[in-house]
């Protein structure tokens, strides 16, 4: 099992390395963003999924890393404190130091209190930052330039892509190794039963602070990579939006799996890139997906893939293909229905529409959508999404029934996934 995952991992890395040769400029940019988001999500998940400490203010450390790097890039009259490829170290050190201080406060409490404290710390930074223009550049932010190093100009984004890729792979590797150190195991203990850890003699406050700081260290690296990429930093980075984004990404991907958050972040980044030009409601879709995952797929997309792989192993494809087809069909219908409804509503309530209805003679002009025109007062316009959604839900129920039947008919497994030598990359974080 382990070898299969290593093989897949190797293929993914090769694909990532080869990608810029076939990608357009804007796609390379999107790729850089995806990589940074993946690293940030995995760093976040160290605290959240592995140590069980839910943080709502992680953008503080991402931002701290970014700003420190911008300052470092500007240092020495613009020459930079370190050669460009080593700049992310600045982000790491900053993330670590800020995390030690913030974590010391935040880990004085556990559970929801901890979460609220991290939220407040993040908001505090967001409120203070615009006033400290020396550090954060006020409303306009700070900007800088990448300096050439080791014969590379870093002027074009292909080199930035490879720099980012190298650091992300390095950090992911380190994060994976961390899981297998004593402190990494302590993190799991903190998640599962903080109370009992005390009775083993652990100083829970110190241990939590250390784990917190390591998570923020890698978050700082992600911020540094962002600063290098866009050659600037602005205080809006401390906004709750970024903290919310990494949280949504991680849980949609699945925090109980090591690479789950990376998968979630990559997917969300990619969809955001593709879809955000087409719709202004991208965040709404993301929120809906998140809530659906929380309700129906608590282990995220990685969990879904794992469950499917397990089912395939038990039942074989022949028994499952019908259920697969039904599930795909149901998903397509539900996505179509939801998208249609949301886009229709969005246009109906937009300022442009209101202006249009006042200018023209018609109070309810037709709405152009997906190549056709839809009359808002017509029943058919609203019937369509209702039908799509209803059909989707009906199909979903049938798919679930087929799936259950296939699993019930199959020969039972003799062990749960944790006791078979399940690929560490998949279930490593939970065992």
């Amino acid at each position: 099992m382990n070898r299969r995952f290593l093989l897949v991992g190797l293929l993914v890395v090769i694909a990532l390395v080869a990608a810029p040769l076939v990608m357009s400029q804007s796609l390379i940019n999107a790729g850089i963003q995806m990589l940074i988001a993946s690293l940030f999500a995995c760093a976040f998940s160290l605290l959240c999924g592995q140590a069980g400490m839910l943080s709502f203010g992680h953008s503080a450390f991402f931002g701290a890393g970014a700003f420190a790097t911008v300052h470092a890039m500007d240092a020495m009259g613009g020459a930079g404190l370190l050669p460009t490829p080593f700049m992310p170290l600045v982000g790491a050190v900053t993330g670590l130091l800020v995390g030690l201080v913030a974590g010391w406060f935040a880990t004085k409490r556990t559970g929801v209190y901890f979460a609220m404290i991290t939220l407040a710390i993040g908001e505090l930074l967001y409120a203070l930052a615009p006033h400290l223009s020396g550090w954060f550049g006020g409303e306009a932010g700070l900007s800088t330039m990448r300096m050439p190093a080791f014969g590379l100009s870093f002027a074009d984004n292909v080199q930035v892509y490879y720099l980012t890729l190298a650091w992300v792979l390095l950090c992911l590797g380190l994060l994976y190794l961390f899981m297998r150190t004593p402190l990494g195991r302590v993190a799991l203990g903190l998640r599962e039963n903080t109370h009992r850890m005390r009775f083993f003699g652990y100083n829970v406050h110190v241990a939590s602070t250390l784990v917190f700081a390591i998570s923020t260290m890698f978050s700082g690296v992600a911020g540094a990579l962002q600063a290098i990429n866009i050659e600037s930093a602005n205080y809006v980075i401390f906004n709750l939006d970024l903290s919310a984004q990494v949280l949504l990404n991680s849980y949609i991907g699945g925090v109980t799996y090591f690479l789950g958050p990376a998968v979630g972040a990559a997917l969300m980044s990619f969809f955001g890139y593709v879809v955000s030009d087409l719709t202004t409601s991208w965040l709404l879709y993301q929120g809906l997906l998140f809530v659906l995952v929380m309700l129906f797929m608590p282990r995220g997309i990685a969990g879904l893939v794992h469950a499917v792989a397990q089912a395939l192993r038990r039942c074989g494809f022949a028994r499952l293909w019908r259920a697969f087809a039904l599930y795909l069909g149901a998903t397509a219908l539900l996505v179509a229905g939801t998208t249609f409804l949301v886009e229709l509503l969005q246009r109906l309530f937009s300022q442009d529409y209101r202006a249009l209805s006042q200018i023209g003679g018609n109070a309810w002009p037709d709405i152009p959508l997906f190549g056709a025109s839809w009359a808002p007062l017509s029943v058919l316009t609203w019937l369509l999404p209702v039908l799509l959604l209803t059909a989707g839900i009906w199909l979903l129920a049938r798919a679930a029934r087929h799936w259950r039947r296939a699993l019930a008919l199959a020969a039972p497994d003799d062990d749960s996934p944790a006791t078979t030598g399940g690929g560490r990359l998949v279930s490593g974080a939970s065992s």
Partner: protein, 250 residues
Amino acid sequence: MNPVALSLRDVHKSFGDVDIINGVDLDLIAGERHALIGPNGAGKSTLFHLISGQLSLTRGTIYLGDQRISGLTPERVNRLGLARSFQITNVFPKLSVFENLRLAVMRQHNLQYVFWRGIEGQHAVREETEALLEQLHLMARAGTLATELSYSEQRALEIGVVLASHPQVILLDEPMAGMSREESAYAVDLIRKVTHGKTLLIVEHDMDVVFELSDRISVLVYGRIVATGTPAEIRANAEVKEAYLGEEVA
């Protein structure tokens, strides 16, 4: 005269107006197995919480040997050599049995903050964890998640993580609760073996177990110790009978 391993002096605990522990004096002799019995609600678990540092005393002192432990945090108390089990199994549900024990063992080897070396390379930790698994007869279940163990296996694990702390004084809170006859006999055997040479304070309701296992017994009623003595003395004590059965039956 054997030294006193654990000593409680005039221990009081109140929650607001409610007095749970009303002046407990108790001395545990080093190496003895001491049972704490009493009707439900007498305060036995509260006493454990006080000794282990989970609750603070309203009045009184607790000494572990020469060291005062009343007022210390549970971490400090554990590091000084006292470990306790819980009445309701309190382990790490989604971690394997091996991992559960290893967490306790790791702390003993002072590895808790190490993040620059892998855990797999720590052979001493692995050996000790495996030794514990052997003692508890859980070797075959090493990779099973704690939440998937049978009830008595969980109780065995509960005892196991206590032992991993190398305590000199062990507190067991109803280790046999919910076990069948065979499981109980098995557990008694296990406890007898693993507490050899250590001081044991055990709360139990099963009187056969209590009389079989203990050197001395103390009876706690409404937060006070009404009697302390050998099993024979306690069996003959009228006040004890009254506490359990109400009015003495002629």
